[in-house]
């Protein structure tokens, strides 16, 4: 726990954490200091002048809050006429050359200029001279579109490419009101995190080519999720909406702050992975390549499993812990073999030492925790002996299988439980659609052993069944939420020791003892 200091805001005593600047420290206690350029990930720049606050008896009496650390006994003035006037004046100056094209601006609804205008300005324009004209809809590369006229020159995007990606594609050229953010000629944005500048931009100057003109921000429902693009487990917001006569669709992923996992940002590939939640899905069940009602497909699958001697269950490292537990209970119940082998999602050398990982699955650590064998030898051996293969969304067949495996698959009875239409689902004897991770709640463990929970975000018009309920219909015994939680607590002492049944917002860091406990 950080040391606390007492200071006064508008004469009221407040207690805040030491070591922070006024903006961050007071935000925690619900006091807003308006600002454009400051961002906790990028530090204080002090150029927007929106966060100027008064310091009673202070020298100087007027300071930028972003550059002012909290101090015991500091007397901060936010509501004096002088400060209110400064905020109004700075807002007026921010807006005189702003196009105010909110009706066609994607940022509308989540724009600092709009919010602060309502809170701190609220006056008619006095600008009676022509505005400064600058570049519009400039393609900056990586799907980033820039509008120099909307820009407030806060330099967050510039600092992002310098401090975070260290690629430095962006800079501010020219002086005075001709200053603008731009690129070196012929050198567009070229990094794997570029779209973060869209979120960082406090106004509508940086927009995403992918998201532009698709949705108004205020129609979007925002749910907390975990990106399943790799084993980092970045925290995201899933922004989705069901338009009239349409299905519930995801329109974008945005990073969600978690200092224990991803900080403030996510990679562009993970951000764009929402498309896969909307597209290429397995829509209906099939028995022997003929469309079939779901119930019938499930019953047939159960009969075929029961009629088999040697069943191999192949589980995906993208499944949630709860799903893995349910599937494992199915294996126990049926005396089936269970394998978690999957190499299709490992892209060796793709990791960058920051957020992007080689392993493109979200819960491989979960497989290990539950002691589900992930070796190829075990899988191949089990497959040779098996007469039925039930594949729970495993990505094995995204890559070319071994000829021996391929040969075996032709003669084997196969059941695919799949979120997406894949080569395997197409050739499987029975194909059953399943809910994908934006459509169910669950827990995953990232590559650093952080256990994280995510809730259900999207509700499709015709929801695909969750994998746990499919497992139950196939004969699994461990499928009720309470029972699953109990099972999780048994293999994760840290969760058992936690006061609440809820996995904390920022995740639960599992220690070595967890692994040791499982092995013991």
């Amino acid at each position: 726990m950080a040391e606390m200091v007492k200071l006064f805001v508008n004469g009221q005593e407040v207690e805040v954490e030491s070591g922070k600047n006024l903006i961050d420290a007071l935000e925690v206690v619900g006091i807003e200091i308006p600002h454009f350029c400051y961002h906790p990930a990028l530090g204080a720049d002090g150029n927007c002048r929106m966060c100027l606050v008064g310091i009673e008896d202070g020298r100087p009496p007027l300071v930028p809050a972003c550059k002012t650390p909290v101090a015991e006994g500091l007397k901060v003035q936010l509501d004096t006429d002088k400060i209110k006037k400064i905020q109004r004046d700075v807002m007026e100056l921010e807006l005189i050359n702003h196009p105010t094209d909110c009706p066609v601006c994607d940022q509308a609804g989540e724009c600092k200029l709009q919010d602060y205008y309502m809170s701190y300005d609220h006056q008619a324009t006095r600008m009676r001279v022509p505005q400064v004209l600058k570049g519009k809809k400039l393609d900056f590369g990586c799907g980033v579109i820039h509008d120099q006229e909307r820009c407030v020159l806060c330099a967050r995007c510039v600092r992002f490419t310098r401090q975070i990606t260290k690629t430095g594609e962006l800079g501010i050229i020219n002086r005075s009101d001709e200053a603008r953010v731009t690129l070196f000629p012929g050198r567009p944005l070229n990094n794997r995190y570029a779209l973060n500048v869209v979120d960082l931009c406090p106004v509508g100057a940086m927009t995403s080519k992918d998201f532009r003109f698709k949705q108004r921000a205020w129609f979007l429902k925002r749910n907390k999720g975990i990106c399943h693009g790799c084993s980092m487990g970045c925290n995201i917001f899933i922004d989705h909406n069901r338009e009239k006569y349409k299905d519930d669709l995801i329109y974008r992923f945005r990073p969600r702050f978690n200092p224990e996992v991803n900080g403030y940002f996510i990679c562009d590939k993970g951000r764009m992975s929402y498309h896969q939640e909307n597209e290429g899905r397995l829509k209906s069940a099939r028995i022997d390549h003929e469309d079939s009602p779901l119930v019938q497909a499930l019953q047939t699958a159960r009969r075929r499993i029961e009629a088999s001697d040697k069943v191999l269950l192949l589980v995906s490292p993208n499944c949630s812990l709860e799903q893995m537990l349910a599937i494992r209970s199915l294996a126990t119940e049926k005396g089936a073999t269970i394998s978690g082998y999957s190499d299709g999602c490992i892209q060796t050398g793709d990791a960058d030492g920051y957020l992007i990982q080689d392993d493109k699955s979200a819960n491989r650590a979960g497989l290990e925790l539950l002691q589900i064998d992930t070796t190829y030898d075990f899988f191949k051996e089990s497959l040779q002996r098996a007469d039925t293969l039930v594949c729970f969304n495993n990505d094995l067949f995204f890559t070319d299988p071994d000829p021996v495996v391929a040969e075996k698959l032709k003669v084997l009875q196969t059941i695919a439980i799949s979120t997406h239409e894949t080569p395997f689902s197409r050739q499987a004897g029975i194909a059953i659609p399943a809910a994908s991770y934006s459509e169910y709640a669950g827990s995953v463990i990232n590559k650093d052993g952080v256990l994280q929970y995510f809730g259900r975000a999207v509700e499709k018009n015709v929801p695909a069944p969750e994998m746990i309920s499919i497992a139950r219909d196939l004969g699994a015994t461990l499928t009720e939420p309470e029972a699953l939680l109990h099972a999780m607590k048994r293999c994760i002492p840290a969760l058992a020791a936690a006061e609440s049944d809820q996995i904390p917002e920022r995740g639960l860091k599992l220690t070595l003892s967890e692994a040791a406990h499982v092995t013991a």
Binding site: N47, R49, E94, N97, V129, P130, R175
Partner: protein, 427 residues
């Protein structure tokens, strides 16, 4: 009235060369200086009362004493030669006519503050000056006045000339440091002040050329000799650049404290063409303007200027005769500061452009009385809300013109009260 301290060698042929400069006493103080403790040198400069000649007038010796003690970091000296304030043309004379006086001053200062690397930041437009300066530095190196063993005293000192790229704002000391470090010249937020964390994060002293060039005289003749010139609080001499509508414009070295009108009339030959005086800009374009009445009681020192709600500034005196259109002048003034705004802070970046457009609109006869009031309000809204004082360097003088010559602005307003003619002040 003129004195010859800084300008002693200005009129001597080839005084910019080491040989001639030495004949006339250059580098003669070094023996005495190196015999002293550095702290004693600082004390002597403090006692002389020498104030920074860049414009702000901060006591030089006091500035040096702000350097943190016992820090395990190098100390840097940056000599500010980015002389860009309109109407200011004093440092350029030192650079071309007597560069060795500056180099000697740098040696004295560096010895006093324990600095072994000095930078001279010179504005990019000073092409003649940079050549003369570099030639003098090369000569000083060759003669052993710079380098590993300064004047055989076992003191190491390197001097590097850094050329600016033509930005007024780089005369602001932290923007100057940014520029030396190779970045876009934009002022830094203070604190930390450069004396604590300046160039490359190290303690740095930044002094104007004229300040540093004053050191050899002070060390040679003592603090009392320097204080014999000028007033008690503004001792010494200053290079005044007098321009505008006077009979004899030029650079004059004068002790501080002389009556402004005496200097204009007796030194600079008075207002030219027998015209009437309209106003005086006392110390460069960023200083608030003085009316003839105010000019009568003003003396050329920091205190009198402050008492007249203006500033001593850089010593660039501009005399304006009765033909000057103050609205045109203000347009030129804002045009300059708007063009030179680094664009970092919102109020300066957006506000100065807006003010310029309003004045231009007024000049076209399309402005209104409300626009004049808006100009005054914008001055208040912009000033002191920014990282540096560039915006204030524009709004302070502009406000003074709007207050003291408001009728000229009103005469341009399309909705001016009846009876006010647009050209009533002109012949």
């Amino acid at each position: 009235m003129e004195v010859k301290i800084l300008s002693a060698k200005f009129d001597i042929k080839d005084a910019h060369t080491l040989a001639v400069a030495k004949e006339h006493g250059a580098y003669a103080t070094l023996d005495a200086v190196f015999a002293m403790e550095p702290a004693a040198v600082i004390d002597q400069v403090k006692n002389s009362g020498l104030r920074g000649r860049g414009g702000a007038g901060f006591p030089a010796g006091l500035k040096w004493s702000f350097l943190p003690k016992g820090l395990n970091k190098p100390v840097y000296l940056a000599v500010n030669s980015d002389e860009s304030e309109p109407a200011t043309f004093k440092d350029r004379y030192i650079l071309t006519r007597d560069p060795h006086m500056l180099i000697e001053g740098i040696i004295i200062c560096c010895y006093a503050i324990g600095c072994h690397t000095a930078y001279i930041y010179i504005r990019g437009e000073y092409t003649t000056q940079v050549k003369a300066l570099q030639k003098a530095i090369d000569e000083a190196y060759a003669a052993g006045y710079l380098g590993d063993d300064v004047a055989g005293k076992g003191f190491q000192l390197d001097v590097t000339v850094h050329r600016g790229a033509g930005a007024y704002v780089c005369g602001e000391e932290t923007a100057l440091l940014e520029s030396v470090e190779g970045r876009k010249g934009q002022p830094r937020s203070k604190p930390p002040f450069p004396a604590v964390s300046g160039l490359y994060g190290c303690p740095t002293i930044i002094n104007n050329v004229q300040t540093i060039a004053s050191l050899p005289f002070i060390m040679q003749n003592g603090a009392e000799a320097y204080k014999a010139y000028g007033t008690e609080k503004s001792p010494g001499t200053h290079l005044f650049g007098i321009s505008g509508h006077v009979a004899k414009p030029g650079l004059y070295e004068l002790p501080l404290g002389l009556p402004l009108m005496d200097v204009i009339n007796k030194v600079a030959g008075g207002v030219w063409k027998e015209r009437k005086l309209k106003a005086v800009i006392p110390g460069g374009s960023s200083t608030p303007v003085l009316t003839p009445e105010e000019a009568e009681t003003t003396t050329l020192d920091y205190e009198s200027m402050a008492a007249h709600k203006t500033m001593f500034g850089s010593g660039g005196i501009v005399v304006l005769d009765e033909t000057v259109d103050m609205v045109q002048l203000v347009k030129n003034l804002i045009d300059f500061y708007h063009h030179e705004s680094c664009g970092q802070c919102t109020p300066c970046r957006e506000g100065l452009g807006w003010m310029l457009k309003i004045v231009k609109q007024l000049l076209r006869g399309e402005g209104t009385m409300a626009d004049i009031d808006l100009l005054v309000e914008l001055c208040d809204n912009i000033e002191m809300k920014t990282v540096c004082v560039l915006s204030a360097a524009c709004t302070m003088p502009v406000r003074s013109y709007l207050n003291k010559f408001r009728h000229e602005f009103v005469a341009y307003a399309s909705d001016r009260p009846q009876g006010i003619d647009m050209n009533q002040d002109k012949d």
